[in-house]
Amino acid sequence: MKSERKIKSNRENARASTGPKTAQGRARAARNALRHALSLPVSFDPALCGEVEALAREIAGSDANPEIQELAHCIAEAQIDLRRVRCVRHQFLTRTLAEPYYDSRANTRAKAALLGRLLGKAPPDVSLDALVKFVTSTPEGPQKFALILTQESKQLLAMDRYERRALSRRKFAIRAFDAATKASGQRARVAPAQV
């Protein structure tokens, strides 16, 4: 068993050594979990819960037994999750494409370095036109889009993992649902008008 002195010392050390210290760091860390919230289950969002229920009812039909209702709920949850992931990725791409000064990290560093040298003791001899052209030049069109895909690949791959999991969950839920409806014969998939 730990002594009181040890517990106190651990607490003090933890307070002294964990987490960001600057206001900027704390603000950034505070937003970590809010970056895209994709790790949270759909059930944590009341608005999405309502959509899951509505979709599950649509899938199961009105006279479904509890097992089929449960399986329909799984499909609906995966489908709404999938929609949420795709929406987050779409928003991310739209927002990044709309950033007017988006540039590669290497270029941004080079621009900052040049501006730093200009403010230093021995500024380089650069014409104002050339300086403005260099500082304000950013990739456009396909180059910009391709740069975003490469440079932001880490974030995009993370979203892709969520999408893959949601797709997998939905596929197996649909297969289970189809098997259950086939076994119970509870629900005819064919609309009467089309038989």
């Binding site: 795709r86 709309a98 391709a146 797709l167 189809d178 998939r189 089309q194």
Partner: protein
């Protein structure tokens, strides 16, 4: 269930700037017409196929545009070495006339085009006048010719990328004369701009992911349609069996079984 889709539960189409919503809806409508979904799960898969196919097309278009951008970078460098700019061409006359119009006194501005024409025919008076106008306005004829040539080269490269027949023929001839090809120019450019290779690899990877997910959705549609076929066959068999049993179980006296 084969009418126009309601996308509410599946989300809005995820189009980026410059993409045409009408084209996307047409794609969805064509898939609906082809697959004829029988329930909301089929609709989910069709929406997936449409969305993923759209993504595949987006990545292919991006790759093509990136390669065109590379061509646009590679061609001017090649043309700068090989292109023989004709100082008697309409392009030069137009450019010179435009510059003269901006720099001549107002009352002479209208004669700028005539002056440009006579200048290229080496008319001594016209040459003197043009030189005077350039000198008075701090312009340098050599620099002007170089700028106009660069402009022409850029226009030619743009037209080539847009596959304008005249520009394509002209550049193909220059390439053939130099024993080069556009592929070779692209490779040279890719070596200098290795970042592009990384971009292209990334786009290829995204295309492969979208294609594989689209194909998985198509397989699920196939599987469900096959299940539907089996269910229908079993239902029809049950109907036929029931009818047969009814006829056999309750024979009516004095009537034939047929």
């Amino acid at each position: 269930m084969t009418s126009a889709p309601e996308l509410g539960l599946f989300g809005q189409p995820q189009l980026l700037e410059g993409e045409n919503a009408a084209d996307y809806h047409e794609l969805v409508a064509r898939l609906y017409a082809a697959v004829k979904p029988l329930d909301i799960i089929d609709e989910m898969f069709i929406t997936d196929v449409a969305s993923l196919e759209w993504e595949v097309l987006r990545w292919r278009r991006l790759k093509l545009n990136l390669i065109r951008a590379l061509e646009l970078e590679a061609l001017p460098a090649f043309l700068n070495e090989r292109f023989d700019y004709d100082l008697r061409s309409a392009h030069f006359v137009d450019s010179l006339a435009e510059t003269l119009q901006e720099n001549l006194p107002e009352d002479q501005a209208k004669s700028a085009r005539t002056l440009a024409y006579t200048y290229i025919r080496d008319n001594a008076d016209a040459v003197d006048t043009v030189n005077e106008v350039f000198a008075e306005n701090g312009l340098d004829m050599d620099q002007f010719i170089q700028d106009v040539r660069t402009q022409k080269i850029e226009e030619l490269a743009q037209q080539y990328v847009r596959r304008k027949p005249d520009a394509v023929a002209q550049i193909q001839k220059l390439l053939a004369d130099a024993g080069r090809s556009t592929d070779g120019l692209l490779v040279d450019r890719l070596v200098k701009r290795s970042k592009y290779l990384e971009h292209i690899e990334r786009i290829d990877r995204l295309t492969a992911i979208a294609e594989s997910r689209r194909n998985a959705s198509l397989r699920e549609i196939d599987r469900r349609q096959a299940v539907l076929g089996q269910t229908l066959r079993r239902s029809l068999q049950e109907v036929e069996d029931a009818e047969f049993k009814v006829i056999e179980a309750t024979p009516t006296k004095g009537q034939s079984a047929a």
